[in-house]
């Protein structure tokens, strides 16, 4: 109920020049046009009334926090003592710290590896499971389960599978190809790669489903033509399938890369950045800085850096795609 009263109150002032504006223009034609519109579409403030709940919530929980992050990033944040402006000191601390530098490096490796790995595996799966048959639909649904499963559950299963003794499932599997048992998430040498495997495992079925949907639109006669020209299967994929799917692949890669930059839950639950910071990513570092060390100013600076990186990457891709066309 509070929601409705809020919208009613907030809808009116937000409406750009709702009742007064047309009259103030002072022309009969514009007034007549406005009346006509009002009769057809309802009063001018109606759309803003419909938008109000969403916009108010966005203001409170998206835009104000973002503004606050910006402000905090230039302050020494001391709860109950009052914040002090410190200029760019937080950014200097952050960028100068080896923790942050290695976190950026780890995040990049993880983002690139997961994005590329998911795409490769997803594409392969899509080629294997393409088609309309009921059986294929069943296999695709089963393979898609990791995407819908909560990340927290996935992290717990993989922790069990990564059990570092030779009885652990992952160690048994690599034992089949006569590899020695690995420490997986428990060793600084393998922790980041172990997290990446989980990310690929979860990301690939998602890419698969989107690519399967895209494959439907590939012109079948091109396959025939390519086969008649003596193109082998790899050439067919290279010259027919991939070009047709290019827009889909670009979007999937972009989305995955942007998501990869702010990876948190899987790292937090699998390794929490350890051992010895070997799998620390930007978000787990920000979380630790903010909530464990109480360094809110530096943590906010990290959030702003992450945000700017996300925006830059998005704009870059948009720009590249526009030039592409």
């Amino acid at each position: 109920m509070t929601e409705t009263t809020l919208t009613a109150r907030a809808g009116t002032p937000e409406a750009p020049g709702a009742p007064g504006a047309p009259g103030s223009v002072g022309r009969r034609t514009s007034r007549a046009r406005w009346m006509r519109r009002a009769r057809r579409h309802g009063p001018v403030w109606v759309p803003w009334l419909f938008l109000a709940p969403a916009l108010i919530l966005f203001l409170l929980f998206k835009f104000i926090p973002m503004g606050q992050a910006l402000v905090m990033s230039f302050q020494d944040v001391q709860p109950f003592l009052g914040n002090q402006w410190v200029g760019t000191a937080n950014y200097e601390t952050l960028v100068g710290s080896p923790d942050f530098q290695s976190a950026v490096w780890h995040t990049s490796i993880l983002a690139v590896g997961q994005t590329a790995g998911s795409m490769f595996l997803g594409f392969t799966l899509a080629l294997l499971l393409e088609g309309q048959a009921k059986r294929l639909w069943f296999v695709r649904s089963a393979a898609f389960l990791p995407v819908v499963a909560p990340m927290a559950v996935i992290a717990e299963v993989w922790r069990i599978m990564y059990h570092p003794t030779s009885d652990g499932l992952a160690n048994q599997i690599i034992g089949w190809v006569t590899l020695d048992p690995s420490q997986w998430i428990n060793s600084p040498d393998t922790s980041l790669w172990s997290v990446m495997i989980v990310g690929i495992w979860r990301g690939a079925p998602y890419d698969m489903i989107i690519i399967v949907a895209g494959l439907v639109s590939v012109d079948r006669s091109l396959y025939e033509a390519a086969a008649l020209d003596g193109a082998g299967i790899l050439q067919r994929i290279r010259y027919v399938t991939i070009p047709a799917l290019r827009p889909v692949i670009v979007i999937l890669l972009t989305l995955a890369a942007i998501r990869g930059m702010r990876v948190f839950t899987e790292v937090y639950l699998l390794t929490n950045g350890g051992p010895n910071g070997s799998s620390e990513v930007v978000m787990t570092l920000i979380y630790k800085l903010g909530f464990e060390r109480g360094d809110l100013g530096v943590a906010a600076a990290g959030s702003v850096v992450l945000f700017v990186a996300t925006v830059l990457l998005t704009l870059l891709v948009q720009f590249a795609r526009r030039r592409d066309r």
């Binding site: 089963a142 909560p150 489903i209 949907a213 079948r220 299967i233 399938t241 702010r262």
Partner: protein
């Protein structure tokens, strides 16, 4: 690969896919096909099936996962209920129930304005919605925890309350955009006819607009459920003691507690997993439709 190639080019009577697997009539190709499918199912669904099987298992070996429960028993369930897992489940259900209903209402309202109304500032409104896609909880985590402790203008403290986990996810850009795209495709004449018949703004909305977009409601419903059920960081910021934990949060605490066995963790994981899987299987058509339309665009 070379085997597959020959089948595709020579064995088939028409290529209907890149690999040409479906068209092959040779028995050993089909057998190979089934083997590949089995491997795919085991790799991707196996670990999740093992969670459920483990919850029903009586065995206590922390390194073993099995697709069939060894020594089936419900002992883990009663142990889990003693640990308050039902409380976590209830919290999760409350958050997803209220969150989803409000999220869908807010999305439908906003989409109705964005898709139908031509008004001054509509481009700005669209831009505002789009820009929130670049402001996920992760980026806002630090200030969000402060905003939740003292909501601007209203002064509520939502820390350690369930509304604190619900309110921030009620407005979701993705959901609004998918709904908007869909509503744009519904013919405007329907609404105009209703207006001419004298139906007001609210009546038109409720009885003409909403019924025409039930498929889209399915899409934003299933995506919204998935998004809220998978929330981790936001509950982590909000819940300060275990009575407010949702199931995903509780998993970590249960696992870290040496007195709690693996069975209890797996029961909690099962309870967190099954609603997501069931929602996906029931609304699969909506899910796939959303993926192939909105998800790629958004």
């Amino acid at each position: 690969m070379s085997r597959v190639r020959r089948a595709g080019v020579n064995g088939g009577d028409g290529l209907d896919s890149a690999l040409g697997l479906g068209t092959s009539s040779r028995p050993w190709i089909r057998a190979l096909n089934y083997a590949v499918w089995a491997i795919i199912i085991v790799v991707f669904a196996g670990p999740l099936v093992a969670v459920v099987a483990g919850a029903f298992s009586g065995s206590r070996d922390p390194s073993q996962l099995s697709i069939i429960p060894a020594d089936p028993s419900l002992a883990s369930f009663s142990a889990a209920f003693d640990r308050g897992v039902l409380r976590y489940l209830a919290n999760s259900l409350i958050v997803v129930g209220f969150g989803l209903v409000f999220q869908m209402i807010v999305s439908v309202f906003a989409a109705h304005a964005l898709a139908r109304k031509r008004f001054r500032g509509s481009a700005i409104a669209m831009l505002l919605v789009l820009s929130t896609m670049m402001l996920p909880e992760e980026i806002l985590a630090i200030p969000l925890s402060q905003v939740l402790a003292d909501v601007p203008f209203l002064g509520f403290n939502l820390i350690n309350t369930l509304p604190g986990m619900i309110v921030p996810i009620v407005a979701w850009g993705f959901s609004i955009l998918v709904m908007t795209e869909f509503m744009k495709e519904v013919p405007a004449e329907l609404e105009e006819a209703a207006k001419i018949d004298g139906a007001g703004e609210i009546r038109t909305f409720l009885f003409v607009v909403l019924p025409t977009c039930t498929p889209a409601l399915g899409v934003i419903g299933v995506f919204g459920f998935n998004m809220i059920w998978d929330q981790y960081l936001l509950p982590l910021l909000v819940a300060s003691d275990s009575s407010m934990f949702t199931l995903p949060l509780a998993l970590r605490t249960l696992r870290a507690d040496p007195e709690v066995g693996l069975g209890v963790v797996l029961v909690a994981a099962t309870l967190a997993l099954l609603p997501a899987v069931i929602a996906f299987l029931c609304f699969q058509r909506s899910f796939m439709r959303g993926l192939s339309s909105g998800a790629v665009k958004g």
